[in-house]
């Protein structure tokens, strides 16, 4: 194992491993402080960033932050590394890689070709020496497009997951939030429910209901009930109309075990959903959620900083060509991301790292009430992610998730981002919105006191 050093004035800073160097170089994070691996001073942090900038990218292929023998995620990363794709940047250091990414040589085509040649640790490393504007600029150059019943991730588009959660999974209550979201032009990424229970019978009921709604109103979108992959497989075996299989994933084998999964089980879930062939324009069938701090909270972090482990979760995700991946950035709480500043930076790092690795990144721009954050912080992150070309965000009535007790972006927030940044919904969904009379030809919401005909009919039954 090599040693990494920088001298600042007369002081020599020494880092005994790549893992320690990465942890000290990472921007301040309460979770890394909780783990006892953060830089001990502001100067040490920059010293580590300087040493990291001088580190050749090839180092990451020779020194694993989590041992190869002990971790199937490390094995996946190393075994799947594409040496040919790596060639254009193989001779660079981390600092030179940052310059390369910012240069005009790194356009969308070059970045797409490069993705299989990059490891999560490489992209995590370069993100640590980037400012927010760098993360936005490079993120914006990477397009990752996926398809199921519509096309998500195209340049100039911003999709939303309609999240109609209800504390008791009451079908009428869920339907009320779905209607609200659709009439505010939301729901192109997915209509996705976090169920209150993992009970398979309830999951089947919700999947059937969502399928019937999408079918009856001919909505070009997909549905998901965000339950454990084993429950999803069981629901498929019972014949439930399943579009997407969901799972929370993390960046180490041990943390994934904490979620009750491994790579083999994810393959099983992917195969089960693929077998149904329910997509019309594509067959990306997996939906993953991630978030910095998940490995530490499962006591499965191996002394690696939370941002690097988060990037490794994207290394897991890309193995399964998912339709959607989002970081639930502020959900975990202040012991991992203390305040708005840390949440904002983490959201942009996650988007950047995911996109560079070829993962279709969205973001749950969110916070809990015990974090030092508020709606203003979410507005900053939303605007920056919109500028960075984020594939999708959440959409929820009035930002208030009454089931999960946290705040995420509202249907209105999506309209704001689309208006200010000139972004549009997924093209198939946008055409549906126009056909239903929900949006006008400029893409602005046109629903007035008079409801579109088919929904007027539905509401007459209430």
């Amino acid at each position: 194992m090599s040693e990494y050093c920088t001298t600042i004035g007369s002081r020599l800073y020494r880092f005994s491993s790549l893992r320690e160097l990465m942890a000290c170089a990472t921007p301040q994070r309460s979770g890394d402080e909780l783990a006892g691996i953060a830089a001990r001073s502001a100067e040490e942090r920059v010293a580590a960033q300087m040493a990291l900038a001088d580190t050749p990218l090839k180092t990451f292929l020779n020194e694993a932050v989590v041992p190869y023998e002990a971790d199937e995620v490390t094995r996946l990363i190393i075994d799947r590394h594409d040496t040919q794709a790596f060639t254009p940047v193989a001779h660079l250091t981390v600092g030179e890689f940052r310059n390369w990414l910012l240069s005009d040589r790194a356009d969308n085509a070059a970045l797409e070709a490069l993705a299989p040649g990059l490891t999560p640790e490489m992209v995590a490393a370069v993100s640590k020496i980037m400012r927010l504007q760098d993360l936005v600029l490079v993120g914006q150059k990477c397009r990752v497009v996926t398809r199921f019943r519509n096309t998500i991730g195209l340049s100039g588009h911003l999709a939303t997951r309609l999240q109609p959660n209800h504390p008791t999974d009451n079908p009428t209550g869920i339907a009320a939030s779905i209607l609200d979201g659709l009439l505010y032009g939301n729901g192109d990424a997915v209509i996705g429910i976090n169920p209150a229970t993992d009970n398979t019978a309830s999951v089947v009921t919700l999947l059937t209901m969502l399928d019937e709604i999408i079918d009856r109103y001919e909505i070009p979108t997909q549905s998901c009930v965000l339950t454990h992959v084993t429950t999803a497989i069981e629901a498929i075996n019972r014949g439930a109309p399943t579009d997407l299989v969901f799972q929370s994933i993390s960046g180490t084998q041990a943390a994934n075990q904490g979620f009750g999964i491994d790579l083999a089980l994810l393959r099983e879930g992917n195969d089960a959903a693929q077998s149904l062939r329910r997509g019309t324009v594509g067959q990306n069938v997996m939906y993953f959620e991630t978030g910095q701090g998940s490995a530490l909270s499962a006591d499965a972090h191996h002394g690696v900083d939370q941002q690097t482990l988060e990037a490794r979760a994207y290394g897991v995700a890309r193995e399964f060509s998912p339709l959607l991946v989002n970081t639930v950035v502020g959900f975990i709480g202040p012991e991992y991301l203390f305040n708005g500043k840390q949440i904002i930076r983490a959201g942009l790092e996650d988007h950047f790292c995911g996109k560079l690795l070829g993962v279709p990144m969205g973001c749950d721009i969110c916070y809990t009430n015990h974090a030092e954050a508020d709606q203003d912080d979410m507005d900053v992150l939303l605007t920056l992610l919109g500028a960075a070309g984020c594939n999708y965000i959440m959409g929820i009535p009035g930002s208030d998730d009454i089931m999960l007790n946290y705040q995420t972006t509202s249907f209105h927030d999506a309209l704001y981002a689309r208006q200010v940044l000139k972004l549009r919904p997924a093209p198939e969904f946008e055409a549906w919105l126009a056909r239903m009379g929900i949006c006008d030809e400029t893409g602005r919401i046109s629903v007035d006191h008079e409801l579109p005909a088919s929904f007027r009919h539905a509401l007459a039954h209430v």
Partner: protein, 271 residues
């Protein structure tokens, strides 16, 4: 959530589907100014967030709580976690799970007495939940415990505590069934939500999967009566089987109560 009545404003487009709020507490049908949130629902949100934030930072009124608990228990002991104050508590969940040295000493005097049930009242993330809902919940629970003929240990009131604080306390008291009442992470519409956790044979080192939780106990959520009944049911089951947590819960989850998802679902009318 209170269903506010917003005044008529020419720049605001109302949503005729607002009447669906009869079926959900979600903030649907808020209307729009352009595409944005109108002033009234915007400020209603700010107020809810302010109340939730205040709930997180409101200190536990220990004098008041000791008085309330002393009327209901033979002995009340005041304890403190290893987290010195709120900011440290929020950053260091590990400290909130341990007792400070003074508290550990205090508990020594109770050692070897033993009891069937230990009850811990902890501020958690909402002292307001404790102030408003701990005593009314106990008034439903304590008579039920008495009917089971279970002996009750001293009640511990703990500041800056996480759920797992019940483990060192239950261990020191030699309790067989450990109950923790704790203020839950406040939601926007629920700043006063009480969580009730139960651990069989509380000892240091228990995993969270070995606990059962009854959440959202408050006047506008899970009622005191039904929460107390459910807890007693879990205690009895645990006592027979000698476990708590995931294994216990599996047997109590019923099949789907959602029907086929169509009943009353206006988006899926039969015709």
């Amino acid at each position: 959530m209170v269903d506010e009545v917003f005044p008529v404003d020419a720049s605001v487009i109302d949503n005729p589907w607002r009447k669906l709020r009869a079926y959900t507490d979600a903030r649907i049908g808020l209307g729009r100014a352009g595409g944005s949130l109108p002033t009234a629902p915007h400020l209603a949100f700010q107020l809810a967030h302010a109340q939730a934030r205040d709930a997180v930072h409101l200190p536990l009124d220990t004098e008041r709580m000791v008085k309330q608990l002393a009327m209901r228990f033979k002995r009340v002991v005041r304890l403190h976690s290893a987290a010195a104050e709120r900011s440290e508590y929020l950053r260091r969940p590990d400290l909130g799970r341990r007792l400070d040295d003074v508290s550990l000493k205090q508990l020594e005097s109770f050692a070897q007495q033993g009891c069937d049930v230990s009850i811990v009242v902890a501020d958690g993330l909402s002292a307001r939940a404790i102030h408003e809902n701990a005593a009314p919940f106990l008034d439903h629970l304590l008579p039920m415990i008495e009917r089971e003929n279970w002996s009750l240990g001293p009640c511990a009131l703990v500041e800056q505590a996480r759920v797992a604080i019940g483990d060192p306390i239950g261990e020191a008291l030699g309790a067989r069934l450990g109950i923790v009442l704790i203020g839950e992470r406040p939601g926007l519409s629920s700043p006063d939500s009480l969580g009730v956790y139960f651990t069989y044979a509380p000892r240091i080192g228990h995993r969270d999967s070995e606990r059962n939780c009854i959440s959202n106990v408050r006047p506008a959520g899970q009622s005191f009566e039904s929460a107390a009944r459910l807890l007693i049911y879990l205690l009895r089951e645990a006592d027979v089987r000698g476990v708590s947590g995931v294994q216990l819960k599996d047997d109590t989850v019923a099949t789907s109560e959602l029907g086929d998802g169509r009943q009353g679902n206006f988006l899926l009318p039969d015709n």
